[in-house]
């Protein structure tokens, strides 16, 4: 624990977005943090310096954003557009359009493509290197069974979670049809899906305080490893209050992961040993998004009301960057016999 003024929650970034935070991501090359918000903006922060480095305004709420490299990124907006943002020149251009609000955007380092998922029930792949203009940059459109709610890319695998609890797993090298079509093993609406850093499976969270750990391996042995657990619940007066799990973020080094729920808590989990490693002190409001920095030393936490109860007065939206103690994220090996005792 640091001795800094808000020691429990981490350092709060100055000049946060003025409305709900839809997502935030650390760069893969630096401690820069890209934040998309319902206030129609995408902001770039230098997390270590606690400084706002850039701001891009969009025509509608921005539902997702991601880095391309350290100098550019992409955003998905509710105004149906996919945009490319160039930070150095504070320049932005439209990469393409969907027929509905664009919910997710991912950049695949393996294929060099941008993948976007939209509520128009399609997935689109874009080539960002081509000059702007939808006709040239669009690589392909892939129909989804339902509106896309969450997406995750690791290596060549893309996991798409949609409404109706569908989960499609794609191989980015052959997008013609999903490699696997699945149904979420959770009974309720999917909130977030994130692939394991080792590429063997994905974690999927639902609105009903539950996270499922799934594996790509379809063999019986592979599938026997899958499980789901309850989290972000509060027991009060003999009944459980169940909160949606909005965010999952895997630690890039240890493979452990953090979940954030509408209860304002961030929990660290060890998926292999099925243990909760740590629970950070409560944040003012729902956890909207989580991201680990490239080395896993920093964790960005978006504490921002996610409208789970409709419009209501709520705590101001805030971004906290906390330094992560190794103890909090390192998997605890299962009980080993201690030779000393």
């Amino acid at each position: 624990m640091t001795a800094a003024p808000p020691p429990s929650t981490g350092r709060e970034l100055l000049s946060p977005p003025t409305d709900g935070i839809s997502n935030l991501r650390f760069s893969n090359h630096s401690d820069h943090l890209l934040v998309s918000s319902w206030d129609k903006s995408v902001r770039l922060y230098d997390a270590s310096a606690n400084a706002l480095r850039g701001e891009f305004m969009h025509g509608g709420a921005v539902l997702d954003c991601c880095f391309h490299d350290d100098t550019s990124g992409f955003s998905a907006s509710a105004d149906h557009t996919v945009r490319r943002l160039v930070f150095n020149h504070n320049r932005e251009d439209v990469l393409g359009r969907h027929d509905g609000p664009v919910r997710c955007v991912e950049y695949s380092y393996a294929t060099g493509q941008v993948i976007t998922g939209s509520w128009d029930k399609t997935l689109k792949c874009w080539d960002p290197r081509s000059s702007s203009g939808q006709d040239r940059s669009l690589v392909g459109t892939y129909t989804q069974p339902e509106r896309v709610y969450s997406m995750s890319v690791v290596g060549n695998r893309l996991v798409v979670a949609t409404a109706g609890r569908n989960v499609n797993v794609y191989d980015l090298r052959n997008m013609s049809q999903p490699e696997q079509r699945r149904e979420s093993s959770l009974k309720y609406q999917t909130r977030c899906v994130r692939s394991y850093p080792n590429g063997t499976g994905y974690a999927l969270s639902s609105v009903e305080g539950r996270v499922a750990m799934e594996f790509f391996d379809l063999s019986e042995a592979g599938q026997s490893k899958k499980y789901a657990f309850k989290c972000h619940r509060k027991s009060e007066a003999g009944r459980d209050i169940v909160y949606p799990v909005n965010a999952i973020a895997f630690h890039p080094i240890y493979g452990t992961f953090a979940t954030g729920g509408c209860d304002g808590y961030v929990n660290m989990w060890d998926g292999n040993n099925k243990k909760r490693l740590y629970q950070y002190t409560k944040y003012p409001t729902s956890i909207a998004a989580l991201s680990f920095s490239r080395d896993g030393r920093l964790l960005a936490v978006a504490s921002s009301y996610t409208y789970e109860e409709g419009d209501k007065p709520h705590e101001p939206d805030a971004i906290y960057v906390r330094s992560v103690n190794e103890v909090e994220v390192k998997p605890k090996p299962k009980m080993l016999p201690n030779p000393a005792s």
Binding site: K187, Q189, E309
Partner: protein
Amino acid sequence: MSAGEHKMLTLTETTCGTLLNELQIIWDEVGESDAEKDIMLLELERECLEVYRRKVDQANKCRAQLRQAIADAEAELAAICSSIGEPPVHIRQSDQSTGSLKAELRAILPQIEEMRKRKSDRKKQFIEVNGEIQSIKNEIYGGGYASKDASVNETDLSLRKLEELHIELQALQNEKCERLKHVHEYLNYLYLGCSVLGLDFKQTVSEIHPRLGEPEGKDISNGTIEQLRTAIQRMQEVKTQRMQQLQDLASSLLELWNLMDTPIEEQQNFQKVTCNIAASEDEITEPGILSAEFINHVKAEVSRLEELKVSKMKELVFKKKGELEDICRKTHLIPESNSSVDLAIEAVESGAVDASCVLEQIEIQISKVREEALNRKDMLEKVEKWMAACDEESWLEEYNRDDNRYSAVRGAHLVLKRAEKARVLVNKLPAMVETLASKTTAWEKENGVYFTYDGVRLLSMLEDYMTLRQEKELERKRQRDQKKLQGQLLTEQEALYGSKPSPMKNQSAKKGARLSCGGAATGRRLSLGGNMIQTPRHDMPPPAKATPVTRNAKKSQRITHDSLKDDGFQTLSSGRRGLDLAGLPVNQHSREVEPPSPMMRKPFSPISSTDSSRSNATNILGDMNQKHNEMLQKMLTSNNTTTPFTPPKTIPTAEVENIMPQAASTPSTTLPIPMHLAMTPMQKPVPSATLQMAAITPAKAVEEEIEYSFEEKRAGFVLPRSHLVNLMMQV
């Protein structure tokens, strides 16, 4: 003739001559006559002759005697020789050489002596052998064997005979050995058997023969051996029998263990029983394992387990019965022939019937009910939905009657939201009932039986519901007219006195409006509903809290009697229905984790304890009027003119009370809602149903039941019509 004899003769001759001379002299002197002398001399001569003759006779006799003696001796010798089987000694030949008879006799006598000695020796041997034979025979054949052969046959004492006897003796000795061995074997066997069977060996043996138990001097007679043999046979029989018994017990033990998962520690005690389950007779050697005591011990264990099993079976039967009832309850079936099961259970308890038999019976029933439940599942889901809708309807009615509903208490926005949803739902109710009814008829046609819900035919329930609704609609219309009148009256009053009566006074009167809650307090689950009613509600002001069920029941009973034409049966059924609705939230409470209702999906919302005893139908009527402006509904403007329905009896108070609510509710734009509208103009009120539910709802309903994420709701994103159709196709 020896010289001495000769001398004596000569001497005698001389003496005779001298004597004659002397006589001559005497005679001369005496002067005898010659005649005399001659007679005397003749006498002398005759007397002498006589003496000679006598002596010769004597000698002759002596010689004959001697000869006789020799012959006798020879005969005896021969007899002895023949009896002891030796060649006769020929004495006669040696006769010539020895000469005199006396010598001969002398020679023969020691031979005889010798032979006699030999004979007696031999005889002694015979007696000895015979005695031994006798004793062995006695041992073998028992005391009954007479010693008829005890005396030795004197005539045959030959070595051969002796040899024979020896052989016989040998044979007898062998036999004795053999028998001894046998007896030992038998005794050994008996000993082992006795130890296995847990009998007293000594006693068993001494019963056969008193001396058998002793270490020495075993009896080996035929009788004993026979007895031993029979004893062994008997023992074996006992052993086989007991073994059979034990193995039977063991198998039942194993069975029971298996059945009841008896812990190993408990089994350990009887491991030696069960390990012998397949052993053949002679493999069972452990002492005491077949003892009556041990068998009784095992028997006791078996009977203990048996009892345990029976009690467990009973438990199982009860459990199964519970399961059956549970399934029936869940599927709202009336368990058929429940009484027969009860009877059977009683029979089991009294021990008249095997529990497993009953168990089987119950299993069959369960499977039957399951099948039926599967058949009813689709229908039931629809019924549940309808019930839920009715529930919401009654809640909404209650809510509409709450004058403080717009006060800004905590969680009020949630309640408002619920109300919005409920209104939409209530609008759909008639269509729902209609489809349900048609589905039910189809189902009944298909299955050939009535579709019953808790024993009541669903169609009649639906009919009841619809008539109730219509009646209430009429009632409402009448009231509206009345209210209008009242309003006029009041404005006049206001003009006179300057104030309106507060609606707060009449809280309790409104409670009477619980129509569809049947007054039948007889239902099993009424208590459940009662509990629900008594649970305090978070969103209601204190006066609405904790209304005892009896009061409601009484009131509604009165109402049903007064204002409705319900007969007893209908009352009961509607009471049940109401209670079911009340029961539902309770289940959810207890389950607590998987919130299936739309309300539960909203994380922060308190789980409302829906007071289902309120009228299901009351405020549908108003909504029905607005079926045409569905669009407006969707926009949640909801110009819902729902006026709380009050029974005719309480009209006087209701007249006063209804003024405020009406005034407040006619515009129906409740306070928090505009904010909702402002922010989310296109918002769908119901994110309620999961996809599965959407799958079974008719096309019209789907539009309302599409799930939206928080972001979609916030962005006001609505699926366009075409998408809906697509969705329908996919579903």
